[in-house]
Symmetry: C2
């Protein structure tokens, strides 16, 4: 893996458009260096973009993702800053744990739907062998 990238390279690798990445820059989520006017991304920029995309998969807005990223490079030199960081981090953790509960519950329900559908299909296969579909097929 190289250690410098263009927008287009990163866009293709990450499965997004260059436009999206430029948009993230405008929103302060990445800050690639420049060679003249051309954006030059390093591995740290790439890592941040990976975090952005993960945040999106979790359903967060770009603003929320930005706050999340801020936790990583927050100022750790003052106790007051550390205390704020700790509080914000814990709140984020609590939100994610709520999300996990929602996720588990939804997964449980969908597994129920899956089992039910499987059972219904199996039941029909047993009582109506050879019939591929629908009751009216017997008419």
């Amino acid at each position: 893996m190289p250690d410098l990238f263009t927008v287009n390279q990163l866009a293709e690798e990450l499965g997004v458009t260059p436009r999206a990445i430029r948009f993230y820059e405008v929103k302060g989520l990445v800050a690639p260096r420049r060679a003249g006017t051309t954006r030059v991304f390093d591995r740290r920029d790439r890592a941040r973009l990976l975090l952005v995309l993960r945040g999106k998969r979790l359903g967060f807005s770009l603003a929320e993702i930005r706050e999340f990223l801020d936790l990583y490079d927050a100022d750790r030199s003052q106790n007051s800053q550390l205390t704020m960081l700790l509080a914000r981090t814990r709140q984020r953790i609590a939100e994610l744990e709520q999300q996990r509960r929602d996720l588990e519950q939804t997964l449980g329900e969908l597994r129920g739907v899956e089992r039910e559908a499987l059972a219904a299909l199996a039941g029909r296969a047993a009582t109506e062998p050879g019939v591929a579909d629908a009751p009216h097929a017997a008419e």
Copy 2:
């Protein structure tokens, strides 16, 4: 708990605006009955709204949530429908499992940030007792 509700009652209970609930109706996520022109929600409508809100907490769009709700009251009378239901359900499950992996990874990282912040605070409390904040406080 009553078994019929007005928009306003449900809105207050669920912590959303009546406007939002009416919007969900327009989008086909709920279909309350009517008494004249007035919406009348029953417990099933309420349950659907709870599912909508959970879907939102998971970051899904209303269109996605609608597809999710469709899994619950899909037509189970034909084998072809059951097969489609099974396929869609399994795809949803796979997506949610990806989301869970993202969630676990993010939670792990945030717990790392939390530990780090705690350690830094503890370290300073030991080496600089009585100092509440910042190096320049000594000037």
